[in-house]
């Protein structure tokens, strides 16, 4: 019997304590905004009598608990929310596989697959390595040039690229998606120098191609969305600049690759390859902690 009584007391206590804690949370009145009737919560006008002698008039002076929709809206209006930067990069390593496409050549398109490995020295500065492999696709304009003009364009295909790159984050921002969700993002600049491996596409079937290794600086700009504490999604545009050597129009049939490359008629031409990339960034360590108080 005693045990049952103890059990019932426990039940009553549980229910009571949980409703008490709920009451404490909701009973906090919103801080009065404006007006001169309500007592100040922290100002010099606050008097102990305000609480000790709660006459009807003084009770009226306190803001009422939110009951209808209008008062509920006042509750959120009175709360100041300043979200912190949602993602910190300092001293983290980013591994970012990417896919890209060339944009500015009407004759030959390249698809690129590769990766970036970046270390963030600070939250806005990074140093890293970049590597990519290209797959070529000749456009319809290339074949039409043969049909319409009886000419075959001199084309080089991209093979590989590797570079040392520096990253800088000049801007950090927030989006409101339909004013409902907040999405954090930043702007990225890239500056690097590397090597671009290219290879001529011989105009004459059976001729041997020759390869070029070109020093290729690049600049880039991009945007990065922060998806998770350890993952980002980026879009970037980069311009790779290099001096490339093309097959000479006067190349003799069967001429070896070495002779063709050494030919004085082989044309050196400055090339700009503008590319667009989409990448996923994975960060190590996968989490971070804030060093400053909220």
């Amino acid at each position: 019997m005693k045990r049952l009584a103890v059990g019932l007391i426990l039940v009553l206590f549980n229910i009571n304590s949980s409703s008490n804690s709920f009451a404490q949370e909701t009973a906090d009145p919103p801080e009065p905004t404006g007006g001169d009737k309500g007592p100040s919560a922290s100002g010099g006008d606050f008097k102990l009598e305000d609480i000790q002698d709660l006459s009807d008039e003084k009770v009226e002076a306190f803001p009422k608990l939110p009951k209808d929709a209008a008062t509920r809206q006042r509750a959120w209006e009175d709360i100041v929310v300043v979200p912190r930067k949602s993602f910190l990069k300092k001293h983290r390593l980013e591994l970012a596989p990417f896919a890209g496409i060339t944009l500015n050549d009407p004759l030959i398109r390249h698809y690129s697959f590769g990766g970036d490995l970046n270390f963030y020295i600070t939250d806005i500065l990074s140093i890293g390595l970049e590597g990519q492999y290209f797959i070529k696709e000749l456009s319809e304009r290339t074949s039409l040039t043969g049909l319409q003009y009886y000419r075959i364009p001199s084309l080089n295909k991209l093979k590989y690229h590797a570079a040392l790159a520096f990253g800088y984050v000049p801007g950090y921002g927030k989006f409101g998606l339909f004013n409902k969700y907040i999405v954090h993002w930043d702007v990225t600049f890239a500056l690097g120098v590397g090597m671009m491996w290219t290879e001529v596409i011989p105009r004459r079937f059976g001729d041997a191609p020759f390869a070029n290794q070109n020093i290729a600086p690049h600049v880039g700009v991009g945007a990065r969305l922060f998806i998770l504490d350890w993952m980002t999604l980026s879009v970037a545009f980069k311009d790779y600049m290099y001096l490339d050597k093309f097959e000479a129009a006067s190349r003799a049939p069967g001429e070896s690759a070495e002779v063709a490359k050494a030919s004085l008629d082989a044309k050196n031409q400055f090339v700009q390859n503008v590319m667009m990339f989409v990448s996923l960034g994975f960060y190590v360590p996968p989490s971070f902690s804030y060093k400053t108080p909220r």
């Binding site: 045990r3 809206q73 040039t145």
Partner: protein, 279 residues
Amino acid sequence: MKRAVFSLALSVFSLLVADANAAQERKSPLSNAPAIRKRLELRDQRFEIGVGTGVSIGQDFYNALLVMPRLSFHFTDWIALGVFGGFNVTPGWKSTFNSDLQGALPVADQNDPNKSTDAKSPTIPQATSTMNKIGYLGGAQIEFLPLAGKIALFGEAFMYFDLYLFGGAGVVNLVSKGSLPSKCSENPSESDKLYYSCNAKAETGIKPAGNAGLGAHAFLNNYLALSLEIRDLIYKNNSAGRDVNGDRVVDAHDLEWTNNWLFSVNLQLFLPIKTRTSR
């Protein structure tokens, strides 16, 4: 013992029920709040009007630098209707491919400058007379702006911006320079057709086009914004004005759907000048 177990179970059950009730009733005061409060309503019920410059990307023969005016009205913060135009101010701007091609075309016959020395390849004037380029363009578009926010640049300058998608319809006026040799209109022989490159016809005139793209506003203040847009104008074209399908005749069957990319930067004025602030 049974009573003890029973009372314990009752106690746990009551705890669970009480917590569940509390969780149901406990609701954050921020649950109904919009993501951004006291926001400047930079778009809602405002016009934007401005002018800028656009450049074509990846055109076959002629690039275009365009003067591009644009007018939009924002019905709400996230939807707008706009009209735009573009006028090519660089009709002679050859693409690199065009320059390379012209460097490889045969010279004209010494006795007849309208005649090629190669039966299969046109001379430069013959080839360029049927290459087309953008003259002007225009269209209307629905703009959908799901993303709006602000950005801190260099930790100093703060700027409001938004991103939008747009789609609509328009027209593109294609023009060409020069004409085919007069020999082509004089009932030429089969041989003359080849040497005078008569089997060609410039594709010119006003073409209906689809219009889709992506844009962004970067607000310099409450009423001035830089607007960046990348748009694809999709229309049927035969930019070389020469045989495409290999039937040795240039006609409507040689027209193909083409993607024509334009990147533009505009300075847009938002009206009325005064902005409202949301709750």
